[in-house]
């Protein structure tokens, strides 16, 4: 019975009501969650589905953010072009970097992804002319929402929102589309091939899987979607800064993915929600959020390696078994 309810659709619809129901602050949080959900899900394509642990995923997030930022702020290009450009450029970098990374395994792979991310960071940090250097690029303009106001003439409930609210709706729709696409990829034959690589790369080779090529493809897809998330984030954050590509950002999104559960599709998004909400709660009481995060991480690693989604799944399985026996 519970399976029949279209939970995803409900959540998606409910999300639209956040600006109406809550304050500006809640819209801000929701927007943050939505963008990081995409970022984390894109990483999970690599970590959870292909078994490739990347420590430099933030590189593509940063590239996406700077692309949209530079195109919209410095060149006045509209969001309609600047947003996909973020994905395309991030995907291209992922292609080049990934080509070298997939030739390595495990810890060496992780180290090279880290090295490339730090290179991206170093360039953003120092290339003052283009990226604004250490100061970053503040005041990225919002996309033009005038057309929405025109629609509001005939659809009254559409109008009367703040620009940041409109951007939230836009993020929500765009992220939903991206997540839908990623869901299709993960549930496709290509996605299945990725899981064979995760489970047993040697065996995968011997069913005809060109492991390196598939890994590169996964790397590019993951990078492109991370770039799209970055493109949204730059605008949302009202500014693009070099630390978007720094390795600690990569570890944040990795923790989110682990927290929500790497073994499921919705896990990382869940992790994003929980982590961002927790962060907001804790930060109002104490400045020692890293301490709390570290402790949560330790508990996760020792007690709930499957993350929240994993824990829920095994609890559900246990319930089903008990009711089957009853």
């Amino acid at each position: 019975m519970i399976q029949k309810i279209p939970w995803t659709l409900l959540v998606f619809a409910a999300a639209f009501f956040v600006p109406a129901a809550g304050s500006r602050y809640y819209t801000f949080l929701a927007n943050d969650v939505v963008i990081w959900a995409l970022f984390a899900t894109s990483l999970n394509l690599l970590v959870g589905y292909t078994g490739l642990v990347s420590f430099g995923h933030a590189a593509y997030f940063g590239i996406g953010a700077y692309t949209t930022g530079v195109l919209m702020k410095k060149m006045g290009i509209s969001f309609l072009l600047a947003f996909p450009a973020a994905g395309v450029l991030a995907g291209l970098f992922a292609l080049v970097f990934g080509f070298f990374c997939v030739r390595l395994t495990r810890i060496y792979f992780a180290m090279l992804t880290l090295a490339f991310a730090q290179i991206v960071w170093a360039i953003c940090f120092k290339w003052n002319e283009v990226t604004g250097g250490e100061q970053g690029m503040p005041e990225i303009p919002y996309p033009n929402f005038d057309w929405l106001e025109k629609i509001a003439a005939w659809l009254p409930f559409v109008g009367g929102y703040r620009t940041s609210d409109y951007f939230y709706f836009l993020s929500l729709v765009l992220v939903a589309v991206c997540l839908w696409l990623l869901r299709r990829v993960v549930g496709s034959p290509f996605g299945r091939m990725l899981t064979t690589i995760r489970e047993n790369p040697e065996r995968a080779e011997f069913i005809g899987v060109n492991v390196r090529r598939y890994e590169l493809a996964a790397f590019v897809v993951a990078g492109a979607f991370a770039g799209l998330a970055g493109g949204l984030f730059g605008i949302f954050n009202r500014g693009v800064f070099p630390d978007f590509a720094y390795w600690t950002k990569s570890s944040e999104v990795l923790i989110m993915t682990l927290l929500g559960g790497m073994g499921t599709f919705i896990g990382p998004a869940l992790g994003a929600l929980v982590l961002i909400w927790l962060n907001q709660q804790i930060v109002s009481y104490t400045q020692y959020w890293p301490l709390v995060l570290g402790l949560i991480l330790i508990v996760l690693l020792f007690v709930f390696p499957g993350g929240i989604a994993g824990a829920v799944e095994s609890a559900a399985r246990r319930l089903r078994r008990r009711s089957a026996h009853a």
């Binding site: 730090q118 170093a122 120092k126 301490l291």
Partner: protein
Amino acid sequence: MPDPSFVFAQSLSGLTAAMFLFLIASGLSLIFGVLRVLNFAHGTFYMLGAYGAYQFVQWLGATGARFWLAALLAALGVAVLGGIIERFLFQRLYGKEELYQLLFTYALVLVLGDAAKIFWGTQQKSLSRPPGLTGALSLFGATIPYYNLFIILLGPAIALGFWFALQRTRAGRFIRAAALDRETLGALGVNVNALYTGVFVLASFLGGLGGALITPMRAIVPGMDTEVIVEAFVVVVIGGLGSFWGTFLGALIYGQVLSFGILFFPRFSIFSIFALMAAVLIIRPWGLLGKPLK
């Protein structure tokens, strides 16, 4: 063309930085070689060594040889901490996926980093140079503080000492064996778990010592842990993960590239370090002195 004595001074400062990095990175390399784990928390051990030295100096005073005692105590304290963490927490993760072990070390960075902030606050701390090593030497037109010289000589001394210990002592042989084939070693009756704890303690001691000794030269601030761990990664990659002399060589190279990079290409110095790391991983992933993969 810059003035030769200036170049010389830069080179020496690169050497000094290299020796500190060597101390820290050798511990990292040791842990990787034997435990096959990249310990993110190594930078944190370094930082705790620094704060520890500061604290012991507060308690003992900085007169006479007290600084050295404080540094030693700090390093020992960090070693004990490392041992406890390994024995009671880290050991439980050994069978599990590498990712979990890596993330655990990162969790330590978060927890211990904030713990340091709680104890010592966020204000910068510093220590003055120990008596006897204040002042500087004039060489080839450059002024070199005696303390720096001391560090430059101490680095290779410790390197030789450890190399000797690894090659000649029984414990050292066990460590090298564990790096090659831990299963066989266990089958031979060696208590591999105790060996792992010992390695972790030793590595933490080295990291803590590095941090303690750097206090007269650099300010003790939060964030020094994350800054140094990335540098240590670069060193270890260049030299070869798990290779002792590789780490030494990697540290030397890093030190020179950084100091001359800052001199000649200031905008590219950070970039060049990571580009070097990437280049090594692309062309020769096992580093300069490591063992080829597969």
